[in-house]
Every structure is written in C-alpha cells, then in structure tokens.
Amino acid sequence: MLQTARAVLEKDFRIELRTRDAISAALVFSILVLVVFNFALDVNTPEMRRLAAGFFWVAFAFAGTLALDRSFALEKESGAGRALALAPVDAGGIYLGKCAANAAFLFITQLVALPLFVIFFDVSIQRAGALAASFALGSIAFAAVGTLFSAVAANTRMRGLLLPILFLPLSVPALIASVETTSFALGNAEGPSFWFTLLVVYDVVFLTASVLVFEYVLEES
C-alpha cells in the first residue's frame, strides 16, 4: 500500500513541478481573499487581529478546494485515472498518495502565503512551532476529507447535493480546530491542547476511514 502511495505521490509532484497548476491556483486564491478581506473589512483593529486566524483558514478552505479540484481534474484528463483505478493495487494506497500530495500542496501554499497574511493582518507569530503544527495538521485534515469527497464527486454526477450534506458537517470541526490552534500560535488564544488533540484525532480517523472506504469510491457505474 505504501509503495502505491509513494508512486502516486511522486507522480503528482512530478506533474505539479512541470505545470505548477495546483499550487499557483491555491496561491492566487489565498492572496485574493487576503486582499479582499483587507480592503473590504478594515482589518487593522484589535478585534480583527483576534479573528485573523479565522480569515486565514477561510481563505484556505477555498484555496484548498481549488487545488483539490485540479488534483482530480488531472486524473480525469485523457482517462488516466481509469487506468489507475484498474491497476491491481490497494485503493487505500491510491488514496494515501493523492492525499499526501494534496496535503503537501496545501502546506506549501500556506507557507508561501504566510508573509502576506502577517503583513495584511498585522499579526505576529508568537509560537512558530505551534503554527507549523497547526498548518500541517490542518492541511492533512483538509486533504483527508477533500481527497475523499473529490473522488466521490468525480465519480458520481450528483456533486450538487451529496457534497454539501456530507462534506460540510464533516469539515467544520477540523476548520474550527485549525482556527483555534493558529490563533494560539498567534498569541490570541489559550488552552490549545484540546484543539490540537481534536485535529490529530480527526486526521487519524479520517485517514483510516478513507483508506478503508476508498475502494468503493473508485468503483464506477
């Protein structure tokens, strides 16, 4: 399974290095949101700074979705994903590979957008280690759910209704936890251990469940 995951991960990185589609799309988006927030909301107030982590993660919920979209678009293009799904490998391995690639792209995007975020919202990073952990765990959480549901959406033609009903309630806890842990790293919140634990548990649960369930997702018609 890990061998498959590695092959898929390497492939996605190779394509990303060549096209830079996912990361640049995500980056443009996060910049767009930060700029819009900045202009539209007058963020240079103390209350706003307290909410900065929330804005940051909303931006990433969006940017991440775009990156996930690209990630599965490249599997549909020319039907390569069909061949991938038919290979005699554990579907869980395919999932892990895609998920790892997506999490990495999200994490890289966050790191690149971080300076802009710091400038626009005038925040200061109080605990760098906690910030890195928050970004990493949040990226994994978002990639774990997003990869699963992008695959579901790509294989059914009912994206419209299924997605919000399942995806929304599932992703909200991770988003709140990410916001709280990032807030902690920026010195705007206390008592992070509950939220960090929640993120870790969320990641583990969703990765495990998705690995087990991905086989059925890949099956078509």
Binding site: R18, S78, R82, P88, V89
Partner: protein, 241 residues
C-alpha cells in the same frame, strides 16, 4: 476449472430502457485473438468495458483465467491490459514517466528496463522524454498500447487499437499481437477494418444491437469472403451470415 482466458456469460447491460448488451456469451482461450465487429453503437465498447471491469453494474458473469471479478480481483487485473478510446495517459508526464509509473503500480520488477523495452518496441524510443501532450495522435495511440502491455498481461482488451496508426505502426502492432498470441496470450479487439483484423485475428464475432449474431473461427475463411458476408449483414440488417 476452465482454462478460458476470458469468459463472459449472459452479459446484459442496460442504459435506461436501452439494452447495450443483451445476454452475450463469449469465451476466449489463450492463443486466440478475437475481433469484434459491429455497427456504431452495437455494443462493442460496452462489451470490452464489461470484460475489463470498467463497468461493474451489469447482469451476468465475467471470469478472467477462471477468476471471477467478484473476488478481490487483483489477479484478474494484473493479467489484463486495456486499450480504450481515451489514451489513459497523464498528458503532463513524459512517455517514459507514464510507462514507469504504471509499471510500478503493477509491481513490474524491472520497471525501468521494461518501460524502455516497450517504448522501443513501438518505435517511441526517441520520444521517450517528450511530454505526452506534445505527441501526435498516432504516437499517443502507440504509447497507450505500450502502457497496456507494460505489465506483461496475458489478456489484452483493445478498443479500436489501430485508430490513428500509420501503416508501419499498424504492422508493428500486428507483429506484436501475433507474438503475444503465439506465446499464449489472448486478445479481444474491436475494429471496423476487416482486412486488418484478418492480419491478426483467429476468430471473429459480430454484435448487432447488443446481441451476438456471429461467432466463427477465421481459419477456414479468407478476408474477402468474410467481408462479403459481414457487409451483407451490416447493410441489409439481416442476421446470421
């Protein structure tokens, strides 16, 4: 029990009220190359998709080397190679990267060398480092076939494999398929080109509106006679030649 390479039993596949396949029975032995003929929309692609387990929601039973698709299926997958209308290649990877990737997925032990070999076999060695997006249609088709064979399958399912191939490439494919069949492989391919099919096929089946209406060995007929009979069916719509 059976040594059939591919066994399709009473395959029925409906899309809404239309039956794309209507209780089709066909089995293919190792060493056979079966050509599927039929009009556009007769069910050729659907049959190949069912056999290749691209479609799983159908009535009937498919077995590959005796293994039901219902089982884990990894073995059936490992022994099958598929050529579809789509190339099933990553457009942003090079020819060599695509083959190496799929070779790795199929756990081919000498992935690197095997990828080089099939590239050379289909005369793509000089384009190995080209991104697929930049290849011509015929080159992509050759690469798609190379991809389907990179893991040394024993059953090849090919939907119009000669599409876009120039004459030398077509002849290369004929040679490759003949060797493949001689070495005990089984091939099922769809085509509209009777002469080309006769270069390589040992048996022909004809689909009409989802039903199998002809199934015969080609050992004792020549291309002209078969084409005559087949065209008669095609143009008059009257059954069983």
């Amino acid at each position: 029990m059976s040594a059939h390479a591919l066994e399709c039993e009473r395959i029925t596949k409906r899309y809404g009220r239309i039956a794309a396949l209507n209780s089709v029975d066909v089995s293919v032995d190792p060493g056979e190359c079966v050509a599927i003929f039929g009009r556009n929309g007769a069910g050729k692609t659907t049959l190949l998709h069912v056999a290749g387990s691209l479609i799983r929601n159908f009535d009937g039973e498919v077995r590959v080397f005796g293994q039901s698709r219902g089982d884990n299926g990894s073995d059936a997958r490992r022994t099958t190679g598929l050529v579809l209308h789509e190339t099933c290649l990553y457009d942003d990877l090079t020819a060599a990267e695509n083959l190496r990737f799929f070779a790795r997925l199929y756990q081919v032990s000498d992935a690197e060398r095997r990828a080089g070999d099939v590239l050379a076999r289909f005369e793509l060695a000089d384009r190995a480092q080209s991104v697929v997006r930049t290849l011509s249609r015929g080159m992509k088709q050759r690469l798609a076939i190379a991809r389907a064979m990179v893991h040394r399958p024993r059953l090849l399912l090919m939907d119009e494999p000669f599409t876009g191939l120039d004459e030398p490439s077509s002849q290369t494919l004929v040679t490759v398929l003949r060797e493949f069949v001689r070495d005990g492989g089984a091939v099922v391919l769809s085509t509209h080109d009777v002469e080309r099919a006769f270069d390589v096929a040992t048996r022909a089946i004809v689909l009409e509106r989802g039903s199998l209406t002809l199934d015969r060995s080609l050992a004792d007929v020549d291309a002209a006679a078969f084409r005559h009979a087949y065209w008669h069916v095609l143009f008059t719509g009257t059954a069983r030649a």
